[in-house]
Amino acid sequence: MIKDLLDVKRWEAFFKVLPTEYIPGFVVTLKVALAGLLLALALGVIFGMLSTTKIKICRFIARVYVEFFQNTPLVVQVFFYYACLPYVIGGRVPKFVLGVIGVGIYHGAYISEVIRTGIEAVPKGQFEAAYSQGFNYLQTMWYIILPQTMKMILPPLTNQALNLVKNTSVLAMIAGMDLMYHADSWGSDRGYFVQAYLPCALLYFLICFPLARLARYLEIRAKRTPVPKKPKGVA
């Protein structure tokens, strides 16, 4: 293991395939992760709000969505899309789309739960106060509740975002041309597994670590007590 790690010849072989295999894979992973994150956030907000409404059928739909996707493995879901969607729609589904809907829907369910608990944690008085001021439901949510929710849910939300990035690697199993696929492919081709997987891990780290730092920064900023702006012209 240590001998393999320090083998210069193997590292030379790796740097030869870095621009041709790893970088394109990295770009695919980045794209899938970004689009997947947007989809997951959208689904999370929609279903998170649905599960806090007073309308029973909405809550029911949200429950079914969350429970189903939270309690089945992502790999099964993605394999299902890959193997069964072509029969349903009668054509091939691009790997990018498979990846985005795979991680998007899966993490959307988790994010929906994060948002639901966030909304429920905002005191009821906030809703009542907003309604008494003439805000409708959506306005109440958008201007009053969700901004307060955001502060509380940032840490668990970051967890979900990071997991989403890492979970895009499931694409490797269906030849998704992502980072893990290329690393795995080259690794098993040459047998240089240390050189194949270690840089692959570093590249995932390169996406996740800044994301984690950003979230931490936002969290700290959000926790600061708001200071009212000084009105102009007052001595």
């Binding site: 193997a83 795995d184 098993s188 081709d189 047998g191 240089y192």
Partner: protein, 292 residues
């Protein structure tokens, strides 16, 4: 110069001794060979290398074979037994190591089989999980840098499996088509070489999968157009809805792979393979399984 030629002659002598030992030892299944086996095997020679001794001490030879390739390495679902020409070859090698015939090795269960895939076979050798891999493993110069390979015991070619209703009739119809190949296999490389060599104006796309069942599933869902691996393996996945195209290209040699450090074991294995080939037993074994 002098030194190297001395080294070479010493090697040749060693090889010659190995072959002669193998010939009198476990080569044939005849009774004369059986009686001689006990005293002329590797175990009795006193010339056992440390890596071989380790296997003798363990009392069992751990071999990685395919479990889903008919005629080569296949698990009989009824009995749970491993069957195929590569399984027989494993018993021949075990016989040589433990000083008995292949039949005795089989009866005494001296070989522990482990299923491998194109993807897992390399790492399993390296981490010592198996002593050797006999699993339709193509010999390539790159792989020889990472593992020891014996001389080839069989030469196969790459084949193309398509759905009958796909309209694909030959490799020249593959422009823009998606070809499923096995991860850790040579198929992609050799097919590109063949296309370039023949000057076909086709640029197929390749997708790699870990394991043949997922490739077969991808083909039947039409996620890929072609399922391409060695013909020996392909035969196991051909059914009513599919056909193997007549194209036959990129002949490739299968060898027995061992860990790079285990030179002694590699020499021994090579001796067995060469002996089986020169005595005609290898051809018999292949014929016995209906392999051309």
């Amino acid at each position: 110069m002098k030194k190297s030629s001395m080294k070479a002659s010493a090697l040749m002598m060693a090889a010659a001794m190995m072959v002669s030992a193998a010939l009198t030892g476990c080569g044939g299944s005849g009774s004369a060979a059986t009686t001689a086996a006990a005293d002329t095997t590797a175990a009795a020679d006193g010339a056992v290398t440390a890596d071989v001794q380790k296997i003798i001490d363990a009392g069992v030879l751990k071999v990685g074979t395919k479990v889903d390739v008919p005629k080569f390495g296949m698990q009989n679902t009824a009995t749970g037994e491993m069957e195929g020409v590569e399984v027989d070859l494993a018993y021949e090698i075990a016989g040589k190591i433990f000083g008995c015939t292949a039949e005795e090795a089989k009866a005494k269960k001296l070989v522990a089989f482990q299923g491998v895939t194109a993807k897992t076979r390399g790492p399993l050798i390296d981490n010592g999980e198996v002593d050797m891999v006999i699993a339709t493993y193509t010999i390539t110069p790159e792989r020889k840098e990472t593992w020891n390979f014996s001389d080839p015991y069989y030469t196969d070619a790459v084949g193309l499996l398509v759905l009958k209703d796909s309209g694909i009739k030959s490799i020249e119809d593959l422009d823009g088509k998606v070809i499923a190949v096995s991860q850790g296999s040579t198929t992609k490389k050799v097919m590109m070489e063949y296309i370039a060599e023949k000057g076909f104006n086709v640029t197929p796309e390749f997708e790699e999968f870990d394991g043949y069942p997922s490739m077969a599933a991808a083909l039947s869902a039409k996620n890929v157009d072609v399922f391409s691996v060695d013909r020996a393996i392909l035969a196991g996945y051909n059914d009513d809805s599919t056909e193997i195209l007549p194209d036959r290209f990129a002949e490739q040699d299968y060898g027995v792979a061992t860990k790079l450090d285990n030179k002694g074991l590699a020499d021994l294995v090579n001796g067995v393979v060469n002996d089986l080939k020169s005595s005609g037993k290898m051809d018999e074994m292949l014929k016995g399984w209906g392999i051309e």
